[in-house]
């Protein structure tokens, strides 16, 4: 399984000289399974670049949305494969008692917010609510579970051969909870992340910033570290950077994360800050940890 980070930013695109190293595009992760199947995890502005890199040939791909906040869907109408008749796109997302996935996404892909409507997309697009039980896409088994954020929100786990990727970009598991004391099954998202080869997890706030953002649906650095430690993931990538965090600030937070991770008993290199366009290769047959480039 190959994983590429196309957008690592949370909340709003943050381009500019101060974010050029970690990137300014919002959430999108491209995944190529061992059988060649293509997945996109979320469709923030990063998916535009993912789409530009795909060949203009018949293709089937799956977009797995964690939730429908704008920073996770804004790239949909700029995703080049959606404008090719030969492309089949399956969009997965959380169910809601209020409206279907298609109707909720159509609120964005419609006037006055968008120049095109869902029905006008040339591609063959379909919308599916994620099942509560595991399902298969290509060579992978996919699991989804509701996680603590604002509104219906999912985290995903992708198992392909012996490798596993857990993706929980928007997550506040410590809201009203002590992550160090709770039983495992009472921690939001932990079942998805348990022993994952690679965990991509919310790392939006520094500890000092969190008190002003309690209940906003994101983690402090301490929460991310506690969650990753409880999950026992081989490698953790802190993702969904706050738009106010410059490269320099993310360098500082990354250094603090690594130092505290080792102090908690974690392995050197076991935690890092997400960098746009970083790639990870998760071997189908384990024994070795994820490698990055």
């Amino acid at each position: 399984m190959k994983v590429k980070l196309w957008g690592t930013r949370g909340s709003i695109p943050s381009p500019g000289p101060e974010t050029i190293r970690y990137g300014g595009n919002t959430s999108c992760v491209g995944v190529t399974l061992s059988d060649g199947s293509l997945l996109a995890l979320d469709a923030g502005t990063g998916i535009r670049s993912l789409g530009l890199g795909l060949a203009a040939e018949p293709a089937r791909l799956h977009i797995l949305l964690t939730h429908l906040h704008l920073d996770h869907i804004q790239g949909l109408v700029f995703f080049a494969p959606a404008f090719r008749a030969q492309t089949e796109i399956v969009i997965w997302g959380p169910a809601s008692p209020e409206a279907s996935l298609r109707d909720r996404i159509a609120r964005y892909i419609s006037a006055p917010l968008s120049p095109v409507e869902v029905r006008e997309l040339p591609c063959d697009v379909s919308f599916r609510h994620c099942p509560q039980t595991e399902w298969e896409i290509g060579s992978a088994r996919i699991s989804a579970a509701s996680v603590a954020h604002r509104g219906p929100t999912l985290g995903y786990r992708i198992d392909d051969g012996d490798s596993s990727l857990a993706y929980i970009p928007d997550h506040e598991p410590a809201l009203g909870a002590d992550l160090d004391a709770l039983e495992e099954d009472w921690i939001s998202g932990l079942g998805l992340a348990r022993d994952a080869s690679l965990l991509i997890h919310d790392g939006q706030y520094a500890d000092a910033e969190y008190p002003d953002h309690i209940g906003w649906g994101h983690s402090s650095l301490s929460h991310s570290l506690s969650f990753a430690r409880r999950a026992n993931a081989q490698r953790t990538v802190l993702f969904h950077h706050d738009p106010m965090h410059s490269d320099e600030r993310l360098d500082q937070l990354g250094a603090e994360a690594r130092e505290r991770w080792v102090a908690l008993g974690g392995a050197e290199g076991g935690i890092e800050m997400a960098i746009e366009r970083s790639e990870y290769e998760l071997p189908a047959h384990a024994a070795s940890a994820a490698s990055a480039s």
Binding site: A148, L175, G176, A177, L192
Partner: protein, 136 residues
């Protein structure tokens, strides 16, 4: 992969942990999966000492008794009505705590309904005559 409790139960437990109102939480099968510190004070036993209790077993933990002192059938408890029938329920009754003391309480229970159906129910206990329900 391990499984987590339904998110709605996790969030309910987190909220209940922060309340000073006695509150109880059962899952969709009626198993008592949590009660908070205020409820523990009322019963005379902390949840951590007890752990989860199976459906049809937890009712006997605290009585309960009607105004004539007769035990109330499990099926008629508000929490059971809420989780089985998917509707709110309310009752007044007397409970006994671990030290044998009797407490008159009002109980309101409501189901936790989600896009995937019922996930359980919550019951809040209000000491009779209390204006804020806190403590016992």
């Amino acid at each position: 992969m391990t499984t987590q409790k339904p998110l709605e139960l996790i969030l309910a437990r987190n909220l209940m942990s922060a309340l000073s109102t006695p509150a109880f939480l059962v899952d969709e099968g009626g198993v008592l999966v949590f009660y908070n510190e205020a409820a523990g004070a009322l019963l005379g036993k902390r949840f951590e000492e007890l752990g989860t209790v199976g459906a049809e077993e937890w009712g006997s933990l605290f009585g309960p008794f009607d105004k004539d002192g007769e035990p109330i059938p499990y099926d008629e408890l508000p929490l059971v009505v809420a989780v089985r029938n998917g509707r709110p329920a309310h009752a007044d009754f007397e409970i006994s705590s671990a030290d044998g003391a009797r407490h008159q309480v009002e109980v309101s229970a409501f189901p936790i309904l989600t896009a995937h159906g019922s996930q359980g129910a919550i019951a809040v206990f209000w000491p009779a005559g209390s204006s804020n329900g806190a403590g016992s």
